[in-house]
């Protein structure tokens, strides 16, 4: 079993660049790279020449200048005296907000619709098919506009909440759906609120502890312990007790309608209709795609799996949780994550309802006022690219973990 030495090296001949499989790839790559660099050089040169001709430069200094415009939804303090950079940040946060809300809701909607589409109930199944097909086959932009219009047509104006015999009433007396937006109460942290926070944290820890304990107990004795109810109790009861003991340190700032002048709500937080419309439209649109993914995922688990579980005596609920879902999830999660990616990119359609996302601030008003198209669009693209890369990074990690487990 001799380990043979390397084959003798022959002298290098130029014809090998094309004829030798070791070098040909290199040759091609060098040529391709050269062409690519030439193209880039060409573009950059044009850019420099054109910018010079227009008397512009490439400078991000404008981000520090005063923005001068108002944004009607800012998650961080913002006035029109703040800089363009801060306006962009406000837009970024707004984009992320609607993307996060959309993803969560789309998942809920999609899972529900996907499961209902498989339901034995003919009517429900058909209804869900109509929903899925309607949303998948009509452009999202149209849906955003339509949802916005439906929303403002179907909700009452704040004036309708006025007076003793108001035509409209609030949900639980707290939440008001109006055609301006949804007004929800907001907690005001009073004295002692910190204690409450600590209690809440403690009970969350306790709840997690209980779950772990319950699992251990079950493994040891076989008897499962109630998890859901106990968790709820741990989370709610101590909080209530401390809340009462401390004399209600947290109060709700409930929105109230102004009775004089132009009707409007004061207090609480206003969830803008543009946000709601965008949110609903994105969630329903993406939800339709997710429904298909979920349906395919569940169908991908063969009927034999259910039957085997049933034959072992597992109840339908447990079968779903222990056998079907874990298998369906592997099929569902990767396309699901790419739907999240699509949804995030689609938030850029916010412009249709005037929601102040990053495209509207950085890529809209800022770009328009400062005339810095190149810099603004570059930053805008970079932001979306980074978000996308993060999301697809998560996807890759998940795929790798599955691959590990499958092995």
């Amino acid at each position: 079993m001799t380990i043979a030495a390397e084959p003798p090296r022959q002298g290098f001949r130029p014809s090998q660049l094309l004829q030798d499989s070791r070098y040909r790839g290199l040759t091609i790559q060098v040529i391709a790279l050269a062409l690519l660099l030439a193209l880039i050089a060409f573009l950059v040169r044009n850019l420099v020449v054109n910018l010079a001709a227009l008397g512009k430069d490439f400078d991000f200094g404008f981000l520090g200048n005063r923005a001068g415009y108002d944004i009607n939804q800012a998650l961080i303090p913002y006035t029109n005296n703040d800089s363009h950079a801060r306006a962009a940040l406000v837009g970024i946060l707004n984009t992320l907000l609607v993307a996060a809300l959309g993803c969560v809701t789309a998942t809920v909607v999609g899972v529900l619709a996907g499961v209902l589409r498989l339901s034995k109930n003919w009517l429900v199944g058909r209804l869900m098919t109509v929903y899925v097909e309607a949303f998948r086959n009509v452009p999202l932009l149209l849906w955003i506009v339509l949802v916005y219009a439906v929303l403002s047509e179907s909700t009452p104006a704040p004036a309708a909440f006025r007076g003793e015999d108001a035509q409209a009433s609030r949900l639980f007396g707290l939440i008001a759906f109006t055609n301006r937006g949804t007004y929800i109460p907001w907690p005001v942290w009073g004295e002692g609120a910190g204690v409450l926070g600590i209690v809440l944290l403690l009970s969350i820890a306790a709840a997690i502890g209980w779950r772990i304990y319950a699992r251990r107990r079950q493994e040891a004795t076989g008897r499962p312990l109630p998890v859901l109810w106990v968790t709820l109790a741990i989370l709610v009861l101590p909080f209530l007790v401390v809340f009462v003991l401390l004399g209600a340190p947290v109060t709700l700032d409930v929105p109230t309608v102004r009775e004089t002048g132009i009707a409007r709500f004061d207090g609480g937080v206003n969830v803008l209709n543009s946000l709601v419309a965008l949110w609903i439209a994105l969630a329903l649109y993406t939800g339709a795609f997710i429904a298909e993914i979920v349906r395919a995922g569940i169908l991908s688990v063969s009927k034999g799996q259910t039957e085997a579980a049933f034959a072992l005596g597992l109840r339908p609920g447990r079968t779903m949780r222990l056998v079907i879902l874990p298998q369906a999830l592997r099929v569902i999660v990767p396309p699901l994550i790419s739907q999240y990616l699509n949804l995030t990119k689609n938030t850029s359609l916010a412009v249709a309802v005037g929601y102040a996302d990053v495209r509207a601030t950085l890529g809209g008003v800022t770009m328009n006022q400062t005339g810095r198209e190149l810099e603004s669009i570059l930053l805008l693209g970079l932001f979306y690219l980074i978000v996308s890369l993060i999301i697809s990074g998560v996807l890759n990690v998940y795929n790798q973990r599955i691959a590990l487990k499958e092995r």
């Binding site: 790559q29 339901s119 009517l123 086959n137 506009v145 219009a149 979306y384």
Partner: protein, 438 residues
């Protein structure tokens, strides 16, 4: 025989029982209703909920749509007619706007005398696609496929026929150069020649040649400007040209991404990820405001062309991923068999791999097309007259200001019909493929 015991098991049936229809509750409409609508408490609740949702959704919409007025010259006329028919203030749609402006919704500002051209171009396109989809058609039809792009461009934009002919000639020259040079100097030189000759031809010879030919033999159609394209014609033009143009690019990208050459595959990966990571609307912004910065100063081609270029670059990244899936679905054995027979890389790709991979990818390509077709509505944001923008423009006229839902519903319905048909087609294809693979 109920008392069968293992010691006295012997049993043989001498008369076979005939089949009996099931008990009543197991058959017919009763069974259907019970199984499909009322099979349990949860099911009953769901049924009731579904009916309630349907009622909510249709209660107001159906009468409004049904009462719709189809014949009127403006919205105020619509309102007068409505007041006469149903009384003051009843809700009724004013579909008349669609009758009055359907031409703009479908064709944009395309000259009224030339309206036959876009549909004819679409027919040519469909005919050209046929020989690709159905391998059993005569191969000679592929010539139509090759000629179709030029024919379609000519039909849509008009002008002397010599423009497209001269451009096509360039491709012919490239092919000729390839044949001659590749034989003499090897494939790499051949490729260089096949690129260089037509490019030089297009830069230096094309324009004068076209002009000369047009002077000698003036055959042509009325020229139509890009800015006259609008409505669904615009959507279809952008969508179809985006998909077809991105196909070759997507194939190259997919092959590059699967290539073993490090630089090539990484460049492809970066391109694909960057394109897919940024929303189309930002790319359209780039097309609208940035593209000019990157081109030699003075070049200024029209926005439609820029949008088509951007859309092509955009969808090529998506198509590349679809085709990569198709390539991955091909068993390794196909590559090996091609290698073992002595076929070169491009021969193997052209003869063995791509025909199969593309066939597998057709449903995916159709799906990308549906997505792209829907996304063409985004060009409204950069002021191209797609159906959405066309609707707002119609609303800006004094006759139809105040119309809202009718136009959107019409646009949505047309999109739905197109996309739904295509998605069903791609599903059918997928199923057929699945079957033929077994």
């Amino acid at each position: 025989m109920s008392d069968l015991h293992s010691q006295t098991v012997a049993y043989s049936r001498d008369t076979m029982l005939p089949p009996v229809p099931p008990p009543r509750r197991e058959a017919g409409a009763v069974r259907w209703l019970r199984e499909n609508l009322f099979s349990g408490p949860l099911n009953i609740i769901l049924t009731i909920l579904a009916i309630w949702v349907l009622w909510l959704a249709l209660r107001d919409v159906l009468p409004w749509a049904w009462r719709g007025i189809w014949n009127a010259g403006s919205i105020s006329e619509c309102r007068t007619i409505r007041d006469q028919l149903y009384g003051e203030g009843t809700s009724a749609a004013c579909w008349a706007v669609i009758r009055a402006r359907w031409q703009q919704l479908v064709f944009g500002f395309y000259p009224a005398s030339e309206l036959w051209r876009p549909p004819l171009a679409l027919v040519v396109f469909l005919l050209a696609v046929l020989p690709i989809l159905f391998a059993d058609l005569p191969r000679r039809l592929l010539w139509l496929t090759a000629a179709a792009p030029f024919l379609i461009v000519w039909l849509l934009w008009g002008g002397p026929i010599w423009g497209p002919v001269a451009v096509a000639l360039g491709f012919g020259l490239g092919w000729l150069a390839w044949r001659i040079v590749a034989r003499a100097g090897g494939p790499l030189l051949g490729a260089v020649a096949a690129i260089l000759v037509p490019v030089l031809y297009w830069i230096f010879v094309d324009a004068p040649l076209t002009a000369a030919l047009a002077r000698i033999l003036p055959i042509g159609l009325t020229p139509v400007r890009s800015s006259d394209f609008g409505g669904f014609t615009l959507s279809i033009v952008i969508g179809l040209s985006g998909i077809t143009l991105s196909l070759p690019l997507g194939i190259l990208l997919a092959l590059a991404r699967r290539s073993e050459m490090f630089i090539i595959s990484k460049v492809a990966v970066i391109y694909i990820e960057v394109i897919r990571g940024v929303p189309l609307i930002v790319w359209l912004l780039v097309a609208q405001v940035l593209l000019n910065y990157f081109l030699p100063s003075g070049t200024n081609f029209d926005i439609l062309l820029r949008v088509i270029i951007m859309v092509t670059l955009f969808s090529s990244a998506y198509i590349a991923e679809v085709i990569r899936g198709g390539l991955a679905a091909l068993p390794r054995g196909q590559y090996e068999a091609a290698d073992a027979l002595g076929l070169g890389y491009w021969q193997a790709m052209q003869l063995i791999v791509l025909p199969q991979a593309l066939k597998i990818s057709i449903p995916g390509i159709v799906n990308s097309f549906i997505g792209l077709f829907k996304d063409t509505t985004l060009v409204s944001i950069i002021s191209l007259f797609d159906p959405m923008r066309m609707s707002s423009t119609i609303r800006a006229t004094t006759e139809w200001g105040g119309i809202y839902w009718e136009l959107y519903i019409f646009v949505a319905a047309v999109f739905f019909v197109f996309c739904f048909a295509m998605s069903r087609y791609s599903m059918w294809l997928e199923q057929r493929l699945e079957r033929s693979h077994r």
